[in-house]
Structure formats: C-alpha cells, structure tokens
Symmetry: C2
Subunit: 218 residues, 2 copies
Amino acid sequence: MTKAPAQDRGMRSRDAILGAAGELMSQHGYAATSISMISAACGLPASAIYWHFGSKDGIYVAVLEHARVVLLAALPSVEVPGTDVTQRLDNFLQAVGDGFQRHPHGLKLLLGLGMLQQGASAAAVAEVHHYRNALVTWAQDSLTVVFDLRDRPEVSGELARFTLRTASGTAVACWFEPATTLEIEPLRVALLALAAHHGVPVGKASAAGPRHGRAANP
Amino acid sequence: MTKAPAQDRGMRSRDAILGAAGELMSQHGYAATSISMISAACGLPASAIYWHFGSKDGIYVAVLEHARVVLLAALPSVEVPGTDVTQRLDNFLQAVGDGFQRHPHGLKLLLGLGMLQQGASAAAVAEVHHYRNALVTWAQDSLTVVFDLRDRPEVSGELARFTLRTASGTAVACWFEPATTLEIEPLRVALLALAAHHGVPVGKASAAGPRHGRAANP
DNA sequence: GTCTATAACCAGATAGAC
DNA sequence: GTCTATCTGGTTATAGAC
C-alpha cells in the first residue's frame, strides 16, 4: 500500500484546482478565467491542471458537475412536509431561498459562462443543460407536491419555470448589487395567484400573509 | 466642403463596427469577443476599430450606450393610456413584451458580459449601471402610473424589481432554449396579486383574464 | 480615415526530468 | 503526480505610409 498517500495527495490537488476554478469562473465567467489565474489561485502549476482535467473545457465541465451535485444534494427531496398548501409552499420557498443563499456559485456558473452559442465543446454544453434540467425537474416535482398537481403537469411546469426565472433574474440583479437577496414574499404571492388563476384550490384566495394598508376592494 | 464625404464614410464605418461588435458581444460575451472577430465581421482592419474607439473597453462602452439609447427610445414614454388599471397594465405589459422581443440585444449585453466584478474599466462599469438604472426607472415610473402609486414608491419599486427580474430570468432561459418568449400572462397575474397584496385597489380581485378549470374556492 | 505591418504580450497546451 | 521549461498561436495595441 505505498500508493495510498500519492492517491490522497492527487485527490487533494484535484479538489484544490476544482475549488479555485469554480470560484474564479463564477466570478469572471468562463472566457475571462485563464489557466494561469487558476494556477496562481491554487498554487499548483498549469501542467498539474492539465494532468487532472485535460483541457480548459474539461475543468469547466468538472466544475459545473461538482456544483450541480452539491446543490442538488443540499436541496431537500421532493417530499415537502406540511398539511395544507400554505405550509407546504412555505417549506418549498424556504428550500429555494436557502439553496439560493448558501450556494450562490451554481446559478452564477450557469449565467457567467457566455459559452453556449458556439465555440463550446459538446460535453460542456451537455453538462450545462444537464444542470439546468436538474433544477427544473426538482422545482416541478416539488411544486407538484405543494399544490397537488399530479394530473396537471402543464400547471406545475409553468409554476416551476416562473420560480426559476425569478431566481435567475435575482441572480442577475445580485451581481449588479451584491446585497440583493431572493425575496420569497413576492414569489409566494405570485405563485399562489398563478395557481389560483389556473383553478387550483389554494388555502385562502390568492394572497397569503398578513395584509397591510387598505383592503383591495373597499 | 471637401470633408463631408470623409466624415460620412467615417460615420458609416463607425456604425458598421458598432453593429458587428454589438452582435458578437451579445452572443459570446465581452471576454470571448476579440478585436479580430469584430474586424472580420465588419470587414475593417483592427486599426480602424482602435482609431474609432480607442480600446476594447471603449467599444464595449459605446455598444452598451447605443443599445441603451435604442431600447429606451423604443419604450413608450411614461404616460400609459387607459382608463382603468387592467387596461393600463395591459398596455404596460405589451410595451415590456415588445421591448423584450424586438430588442433582444439589450439584456443579453447586460448579462453576457461577465466583466463586472473586477478587471473592467470604471467607464464600462458606470455604463452598465447607467443602463440598468434607466430600465428600472422606466419600469417604476410606468407602474406608478398603472397602479396610481405616486404616494407609495416602495410598492412601485417592488413591482418594478419583480418585473425586471422576470424579464432577466426569461432572457437567461432564452439562451438555453432560444425559442423561449416572455410570457406576459403569468406576469400580469403576479403583478395584480402583488399590488392587491399591498392593499392597492385593482380592478377585479387578484386575477384578470378568463378563468378556466375549477374555481379557486368552491 | 483607412490601410499594412508589427511590436509586446499572454493564452492554451505539451515534453520530459524527477 | 508534480515540477520546470517551452512551443505555438492568438491577443491587444501601435507605427507609419497613403
């Protein structure tokens, strides 16, 4: 067993490269992140990076895959506890907010790449879509449970798309003003109204939470 | 008047460069767009580009400024015609949808840059924020008229942010699946519900448009 | 204002000793 | 697995003729 330490050192180097590359690529985007930047950030020479990942595309694919696995592992599984719609929706929204806040890299990686249209390897494009599809599926499955939509996939699909677009748009805003957070309150109101608009029974009318100010219809 | 033709030719070259650069940068992002790509696309040598714009940052600033001016000129001015809330909201949403559909470059430029955090010139960062602020202001002013929110700027601000985040998120989705369009129907429902949630009087309850399927509260 | 030619540099990627 | 050294090509940017 003389090779165990070597394997270990290799793994740790690999992780260091992956971490540095993820950080840099989520900040600067794929094209603006160079091998030498990654090398400087993790302390290893450029050749070590190529030994582990083969190419710049290879690093990107690995970074994205890693981010996907981490994020999906952090998102609670589809069984959203709660007895009524409002409660299950709260749990879902909290999961979305937590994922957004604690794993900011994910969406920024998907956004900050700028390498979709062309010039990208097939593997990178495939992984990008894989990542995105995993998020869509998670959201749709969760919302199906929240609103009990097993027989109305088009509604759960619309709600999932709406949720993800709000999150994506917030991620964009976040990078103009870093203090931005995902406001789940407006999202809750919007999802409830959308569900009601499609005739889905929701707890109380369209808007949950305490109303303040004048009533809607005096 | 011997210099008029020369001025004219210079202007046309400038426009050609600006057009090609805008196209390429909105597709590939700032970092992935090189001077030689722009040169090849517009047929002029690289030195002409530098003569007109001075640097790569200079081109980017000019492209962004041009996109901002064009987009804002295309958006209807704040006076949203219509007698009741629903009608004014429809007009606003149509303006948003039209702007989104007919000027896809704008948002993609803002998104596809990946050059915000660092490494960008002060002028470029300033122009990016200028662009974004112009959009936010337009949306907030319009929504103030739509919902008559002169004395409740925090509500119009929230509605404007929500609208822009939906649009931004859709722009992101658009570049995963190019067929994606801005769905104004869910946005309408969401905005009405949000306004009602804040006690703003809206025409009929929370959801406009024809209801289909079961009623919300049997 | 527009061109050709080129300087100075940095990118991604590889070879081979250890 | 990790290092030093290097190759090739593309990058931004400039010089100077026209």
